[in-house]
């Protein structure tokens, strides 16, 4: 044994430290944070890290995407289904800039991710060197935090900080940019997790006075409505929400990202709110005398016209991010805290009630929506296949712990509306950003972290072709995702808007598409295409029973619309139920 190795070995025993390169320190830091899966794409500046990755193959599983955007979305989906912080690697310059859509998407949807980008050698930073880009500056508006490392010995502390910030409070993506020389230079490695940053206060201490005020408002309300958002899932408050709703008898409406926060077959489930949400919760938002918003941010797609939103309601906003409170909707009581903590302390203070008359108002509107929209969409019985019936069929034929992934557009809304979610399902979708091309890479990321749960992805023909290259990743790693392409040969949502608001002038929305079945076969992926109603069930059965990945292309009605719709500028109470 060489003298230096002896020294390193003995110091490792004594101080848990060892002399390693910056690249190795990065990987050791990730292992310390419990990381076992990384999505990424190599390149010049990050080569020292990838080289070390070969030595850590037994502990760190690297999934090579086909584009950095794909790696970013996959890492996000992985984080969403595992509840862990996702990790994504990219090289400098174009590698780093290709991540931006993925970072921004994770930022808007509050997903904890650590992005590692390589940077040119520190002496060259700022000189417009080959493959140099100011990724720190570019990513600043779409990261929770970012930092650049120029010295190898800074790596462990910065990575510790990155994981602490990404995963605490309102989660979000962070980016660490590591200069090439910092990857190569040596340091004495030791690791300590970060648990405190002086200027960063992820969660406040609970203010019991506010909790008591909330209880008073809740106990006196006659027509209260809970709006449950993504925060319920992020803070692991699904059980607490259920207990709270059942004790108070208050109906629960969900947002798109909060869709699995409450069982859809529960008698208190009021449906999804928002532009293409359900009829009853949208209309009755404006009859409610109290809105209890939990872990949601009153996005404009949820509120419609703010001036006409919930005019008769007092608003309690339970939200971990203070900057979201009073941002869109002025609230009467703000509780700037973690959803689970608040619900837990609120539960003993609220009275046990039932609200049959109020619930009946929802059921009456539900029946109208069912007759005018849901039944024609899910059981048309004649004419072409509808998106809704495909989604409903898959929903009926899958287990209730299935992970459902979507892209963005009409099919996404069809899934949100017609997939019957339980609390055991997960929905991986792009909410705030509405990123077309999210679906396919997200599906493979979700499947990588699924721990045996089935993954079904619904993707439109447009979004499918935005990140189609990730079929290569699915092929290489034999990732068992079931992909349902809802093909209407249109950019359907834009077409719907053109039909409704632009005099049916279909500017650049009609698509000439490839033969998706042949395409799948080029990647060695089994596939089927259906356009007849009778073929649908058998095809879904084949898809679900096939080992490994599968693509099912469903050719659906070309010019169908997603309804109901809160048209832009309209009040949530003025939902369009039928069109034409």
């Amino acid at each position: 044994m060489k003298e230096s190795e002896k020294k390193a070995g003995s110091s490792q025993q004594r101080n848990h430290s060892a002399i390693v390169t910056g690249a190795e320190a990065l990987l050791l830091s990730l292992i310390e944070e419990g990381v076992d899966t990384i999505f990424g794409y190599p390149g010049g500046a990050i080569m020292p890290v990838y080289d070390k990755l070969l030595d850590y193959g037994d502990r760190l599983n690297h999934i090579l995407a086909r584009h950095e955007q794909g790696a970013a979305h996959a890492a996000q989906a992985y984080a969403m289904v595992t509840g862990k912080t996702g990790v994504c690697f990219a090289t400098s310059g174009p590698g780093a800039t290709n991540l931006i859509t993925g970072i921004a998407n994770a930022f808007l949807d509050s997903i904890p991710l650590v992005f590692i980008t390589a940077q040119v050698t520190s002496g060259l930073i700022g000189t417009d060197a080959f493959q140099e880009t100011d990724i720190l500056g570019i990513s600043m508006p779409v990261t929770k935090w970012n930092a650049q490392v120029k010295k190898a010995d800074e790596i462990p502390a910065i990575i510790a900080r990155a994981f602490y910030i990404a995963g605490s409070g309102r989660p979000g993506p962070v980016l660490v940019d590591i200069a090439k020389d910092a990857q190569v230079d040596s340091l004495d490695f030791s690791y300590r997790k970060c648990t405190y940053i002086r200027s960063y206060n992820p969660v406040n201490a609970l203010n019991m006075r506010d909790i008591r005020s909330a209880a008073v408002l809740i106990n006196h309300a006659e027509k209260p409505l809970i709006l449950a958002g993504h925060g319920i899932i992020l803070s692991d408050a699904v059980k607490e929400l259920k207990a709270f709703a059942e004790k108070t008898g208050i109906p629960v409406a969900v947002t798109l990202l909060g869709i699995t926060a409450f069982d859809h077959s529960h008698r208190l489930f009021a449906g999804m709110v928002g532009m293409h949400g359900n009829y009853a919760p949208n209309v009755l938002t404006n009859s409610a005398d109290l809105i209890i918003a939990i872990g949601m941010r009153f996005d404009d797609r949820v509120t419609g016209n703010l001036k006409k939103y919930a005019p008769d309601a007092r608003v309690i906003h339970i939200e971990i991010d203070k900057a979201e409170i009073n941002k869109n909707v002025r609230v009467d009581l703000e509780i700037n805290n973690d959803a689970r903590e608040v619900l837990t302390s609120l539960l003993p203070l609220v009275s046990e009630k039932t609200m049959e008359a109020w619930i009946r108002e929802f059921r009456i509107l539900d029946r109208i929506e069912d007759e005018k929209v849901i039944r024609p969409e899910t059981t048309p019985g004649k004419d072409e296949l509808r998106m809704g019936e495909v989604v409903k069929t898959v929903s009926q034929m899958t287990t209730d712990n299935t992970i459902v992934v979507t892209d963005v557009g009409q099919h996404q809304m069809a899934v949100a509306r017609y997939f019957s979610f339980t609390e055991k399902n997960s929905l991986v979708t792009s909410g705030g950003m509405g990123t077309m091309g999210f679906g396919l890479p997200a599906a493979l990321g979700a499947a990588t972290g699924s721990a045996g749960r089935n993954v079904v992805a619904f993707i439109g023909d447009g979004g499918m072709q935005m990140t189609l290259q990730e079929l290569g990743t699915i092929m290489q790693y034999r990732i068992p995702v079931k992909i349902v392409i809802l093909n209407n040969s249109f950019l359907g949502m834009v077409r719907q808007w053109q039909e409704m608001f632009f005099n049916k002038r279909y500017a650049s929305t009609e698509m000439v598409n490839p033969d998706f079945v042949k395409l799948a076969s080029a990647y060695g992926i089994k596939a089927l295409a259906v356009s007849d109603r009778e073929e649908l069930r058998p095809a879904v059965k084949t898809m679900l029973e096939t080992e490994g990945p599968f693509i099912l292309e469903a050719k659906v009605s070309k010019e169908a619309n997603i309804l109901p719709m809160v048209e832009p500028g309209a009040s949530v109470a003025d939902v369009t139920l039928t069109y034409k």
Binding site: L136, G137, M140, P141, K144, W145, I165, T195, Y196, I197, R198, S199, Y200, D321, K322, A323, I325, N326, K327
Partner: protein, 186 residues
């Protein structure tokens, strides 16, 4: 209704923090009328004082968004009447223009300004005060042949500065206890 606000904020002295703050203001199309950065009374903590014109609703929103930044410790928003502040201005005026009449005496006695430099061509006058006081002297000196005028951002003190010190001490104390616990645990 738009009005003038002084946003005072305390940050860790980290690279890029000013960019992060201005990004938030830029997104909301809020112009920074003036900005001053300096060390605060607490070591390692930077103090930024910005003057902006916007609505009460908007200043509250951006203050919350700025405070959310990881490196920002605390943000305070004040209307100009709620703080004690000073700005400093330099006026370079032609000697000929200023020497006529009783102007020099007025400058020192009435406006509490200082003469910094006198040459045969120009005189440099310094004045610290509030924005209206500085503007007032500017309007007086303008007819005398003003060659240059420059004024600083704002330095301001508030009652909350004291609260910040207490707040920081509390945080440091909590951190000390946390570290002790961590060591015992390990």
């Amino acid at each position: 209704m738009r009005q003038e606000y002084t946003i005072s904020l305390f940050t860790e002295n980290n690279i890029g923090i000013l960019s992060r703050i201005t990004l938030i203001l830029t997104r909301r199309q809020i112009n920074i009328e003036s900005i001053t950065a300096s060390e605060s009374a607490v070591s390692g903590v930077q103090m930024l004082t910005m003057v902006v014109r916007t609505t009460p609703d908007m200043v509250d929103k951006v203050a919350r968004q700025i405070e959310k930044l990881v490196d920002v410790i605390k943000v305070f928003v004040h209307t100009s009447s709620e703080i004690i502040y000073q700005e400093i201005a330099l006026y370079k005026v032609t000697t000929k223009g200023l020497m006529s009449g009783s102007m020099i005496g007025d400058i020192v006695r009435k406006y509490h300004a200082k003469i910094l430099e006198v040459t045969p061509e120009y005189i440099v006058v310094e004045k610290s005060g509030t924005r209206p006081e500085i503007s007032e002297l500017l309007s007086v000196l303008e007819p005398c042949g003003l060659l240059q005028f420059v004024s600083s951002g704002r330095v301001a003190v508030t009652r909350q500065v004291k609260e910040l010190n207490a707040y920081l001490k509390e945080m440091d104390e909590a951190e000390r206890i946390r570290r002790q616990e961590l060591e015992i645990y390990n």
